[in-house]
């Protein structure tokens, strides 16, 4: 880079762009300064035209200035039309510098001419004008101090030199003041312009970086989406293929099993059991692979909720007690009444996988399922006295297809996907699985779940059907009435309704039951409710008696349904027969208030 920024070749792209931009700014802004200089020139010419100075002393610089300005005017027009290309930088830069240099020289010559005839007070004014000129120029060209320098230094030099030639003290002072002020101005201007340029450079660099960054982010996002899409497609293909792969495998297992009684020889049985074993491990492998695939295909959802560990543990207890017994292992569950906030499905699958794993790798001793409350957490632990995991393998056991024990692989017991499924499920369920193990001594896998308070613990005595819903005081329940007299039914229903009961009536038990159902269908009786009592006449004019009708009603609505037998009969043993089946005997005629009192007590 040449010191006056005469060329932009060999600069960084950003720098050259900025220099070009600055040059264009200069050409856009500075030509207007000429417009204010023209009146100043005319005024000066008018003032000195009658002085004794030789005319060419001031005429020549004035004409020079006019010629410069005319050229600048033409170039400005051109600039406004075509702008500046990068290739034209050198020319336009030279023109800019040349213009300000010539303008400064001509003003300097003009100043020298004027100083030779000026009175001391006019000298002062002239110096002030020079200072103003210099400062203004520097301000206008603050972004490009080099041009400002060329535009003011010759003027300053010429005027100062003329002042020094005077050999007058006042003139020397003026010259010194002039030079000092102009030098100070130049330093400030150069500092500002350098900082401006650096700022512009930084801004451009930042913009370029942001652009680049945005581009890279786009690319990364795209690549990630593509990769995820491909991965999901793979998993979905897997999950979909599972159906077709499982069927024939399953048939093979069935047929192999069916073949067993038909192979009498020991050698054949041996081969058959080997086929069965390999089929079983093939099947297990498939299941695990499909598990992994379905988790990866995001077919498993994570829905944390309140979960009672006791229920979960009881289920696992049923399942694994049998498995352990089959393998000759002792099985122990330390139940807990703690509740956790976790996804029940995922938690159960993780524990079941861990337990399966424990059973698989334990050849003697025991498998335990425990729960321990630690502060705000519950540790669900699966202990085994199995083969254990060497410390160097601890990180890798959760990897797909990794197996610490090659013996297990050889015997076809597992295929190393069980813990990979656990890892995926744990990530999905946002829970932590911790492993502690000693090689040859056993392992402990802990699942850390957040503790929470129990919700609506079921109380052991809330068994009854009708006890759980609070009763509306105006809805005291349905009473079934069976009688062969329609008038009796009507009047009973009336009395019951007036006292807050509902009535389901009929002259046979079947019709009475339908009446109950109709009450529910019509919405008068809440869903799930059953009648609270039955009142039946003893003589129904049918082939059955009231006691049999009550038995039918109790078959429908519960053996402990309060029942009342209305009778006008004086059969001696009826009372004891009724009492023996828990039916209260009521004598006809029954006064309504008595009926209500008895029902209230029931």
């Amino acid at each position: 880079m040449s010191w006056w920024r005469g060329s932009i070749q060999g600069l960084a792209p950003i720098e050259s762009r900025i220099d070009l931009q600055l040059l264009q700014d200069s050409w856009r802004v500075t030509p207007s300064s000429v417009l204010s200089q023209i009146p100043a020139l005319l005024l000066l010419v008018w003032m000195v035209k009658d002085s004794p100075l030789p005319r060419w002393h001031w005429g020549a610089p004035a004409i020079g200035l006019l010629i410069v300005w005319a050229i600048v005017g033409l170039m400005t027009r051109r600039f406004q039309r075509f702008g500046i290309a990068a290739s034209g930088y050198r020319t336009w830069r030279a023109a800019l510098v040349g213009w300000h240099l010539l303008q400064s020289v001509f003003w300097g010559l003009m100043g020298v001419a004027l100083l030779s005839v000026a009175t001391p007070s006019w000298k002062m004014s002239l110096v002030a004008a020079v200072v103003v000129y210099g400062y203004t120029l520097m301000l206008v060209l603050v972004h490009d101090w080099i041009v400002g320098f060329f535009g003011s230094f010759p003027l300053l030099l010429l005027v100062s030199a003329r002042l020094l030639v005077d050999h007058e003290d006042s003139s020397v002072y003026l010259a010194v003041v002039l030079m000092l002020s102009m030098i100070t101005c130049m330093f400030i201007s150069s500092g500002i312009s350098r900082r401006l340029r650096e700022g512009a450079l930084l801004r451009h660099e930042n913009a370029a970086l942001v652009l680049q960054l945005r581009h890279e982010i786009n690319q990364v996002t795209l690549a990630k989406a593509l990769a995820e899409g491909a991965d999901r497609q793979k998993s979905e293909f897997f999950a979909a293929a599972s159906h077709d792969l499982r069927q024939p495998l399953h048939v093979m297992m069935l047929l192999t099993n069916a073949l067993t009684p038909w192979v009498p020889k020991a050698e054949g049985q041996d081969l058959l059991s080997k086929i069965s074993t390999s089929l079983r491990s093939l099947s297990t492998l498939f299941e695990r692979m499909f598990d992994v695939a379905s988790i990866d295909a995001e077919r498993v959802e994570h829905q944390p909720q309140a979960l009672a560990l006791s229920t979960l543990y009881r289920r696992l207890d049923h399942e694994f007690a049998v498995l352990c017994a089959n393998k000759g292992l002792s099985w122990q569950v330390d139940a807990t009444d703690a509740w956790v906030q976790a996804d029940p499905h995922i938690t159960e699958r993780i524990l079941r996988n861990l337990l399966n794993n424990a059973v698989r790798y334990t050849h003697q001793g025991q498998v335990r399922l425990r729960a321990r409350v630690r502060g705000r957490w519950v540790l669900c632990q699966v202990w085994d006295s199995g083969v254990g995991v060497a410390p160097e393998h601890r990180e890798r056991i959760f990897d797909d297809y990794f197996q610490a024990h090659t013996t297990a692989r050889r015997s076809g017991e597992g295929l190393g996907l069980g813990l990979a499924v656990v890892r995926r499920l744990a990530r999905l369920g946002r829970v932590q699985v911790i492993v502690r193990s000693r090689l040859g001594r056993g392992s402990c896998f802990s699942l850390r779940l957040p503790l929470r308070e129990a919700i609506a613990a079921p109380s052991p005595n809330s068994v009854g059907v009708s006890q759980d819903a609070p009763k509306d005081p105006n809805q005291r329940g349905v009473v079934v009435v069976i009688d062969d007299e329609p008038q009796v039914l009507e009047s009973m229903a009336l009395v019951l309704r007036q006292n807050g009961w509902q009535a389901a009536t009929g002259h046979t038990p079947e019709i009475a039951v339908e009446a109950v159902a109709a009450l529910q269908t019509s919405g008068e009786m809440p869903l799930g409710d059953l009648p609270v009592a039955v009142i039946s006449d003893y003589r129904l004019g049918l082939s059955i008696t009231g006691l049999e009708a009550i038995a039918q009603l109790r078959y429908e609505f519960g053996e402990d349904l309060p029942a009342f037998l209305l009778t006008a009969d004086a059969t001696a043993d009826l009372g004891s027969r009724a009492a023996s089946v828990g039916v209260t005997l009521l004598r006809k005629p029954l006064n309504p208030s008595e009926l209500i009192r008895i029902l209230d007590a029931a």
């Binding site: 069927q247 024939p248 495998l249 399953h250 297992m253 809330s462 759980d468 059953l530 109790r554 078959y555």
Partner: protein, 220 residues
């Protein structure tokens, strides 16, 4: 049902699978007799013409050439109103299993995994019990409010009748005909059973009952 020589209808489009299933069931019930269908249409005509030799249970693959998914079950259920239907499928989709329960399947038996598990499930089917995969029972959709209450639920005798038919997968009108009571009364009892079990749907009820079975066995 004739317990000595029960009659099963096997519906699967793979003859090999039907073959394998027959062998598997014969190992449990040597006298079992079989009818076979490879399409939904032929299964329906089998059921329609089975009056002389009634079919006790249907073993149904959902993916057939002329029908697939839960629709297959719906078609067969329309014709086999009282028979138990076991779904034998290659799918482990819990949602599908729940839909099958909703539409009256007594068993949902995935054709995969260990043979022992499959045989246990088949045994449940031939013995008239319910069977659903263990993972399914723990799915959030199937989780009833308080499963702890199970052993202490008291039902009226009629409700027990109704529950038996519900676990066979029968609809309310079918149950009403079978028990000789009105569909409204069936509904009355079904609502009461739901409340007793604290469930909100047939599916939850059936799942709960299938889980209850081993509990009952342990009771004295």
């Amino acid at each position: 049902m004739d317990h000595q020589s029960p009659h099963y209808l096997l519906v699967d489009d793979h003859s090999l699978i039907r073959e394998g299933m027959m062998h598997a069931i014969r190992s449990l019930q040597p006298l079992a007799r079989f009818s076979q269908s490879n399409t939904c249409r032929s299964a329906l005509s089998h059921l329609a013409n089975s009056a002389a030799d009634p079919i006790d249970a249907v073993l149904l693959d959902l993916g057939l050439p002329d029908s697939s998914g839960v629709d297959t079950l719906k078609h067969v259920r329309q014709m086999a109103t009282t028979q138990r239907i076991g779904i034998i499928t290659g799918s482990t989709d819990a949602q599908l299993a729940l839909e099958c329960i909703h539409h009256g399947a007594s068993c949902f038996i995935p054709k995969l995994g260990e043979l022992d598990g499959f045989m246990t499930a088949l045994q449940a089917l031939v013995e008239g019990r319910l069977h659903f995969p263990a993972d399914l029972l723990s799915s959030p959709a199937a989780m009833p409010d308080s499963p702890d209450l199970l052993p202490s639920i008291k039902l009226t005798p009629r409700q027990k009748d109704v529950l038996t038919w519900i676990t066979r997968g029968c609809s309310n009108p079918v149950i009403a005909t079978a028990l000789g009571i009105s569909p409204e009364t069936v509904k009355l009892h079904v609502s009461a059973i739901f409340r007793a079990y604290k469930v909100h749907s047939r599916t939850q009820l059936v799942l709960l009952c299938s889980r209850q079975a081993p509990v009952e066995e342990q009771l004295p």
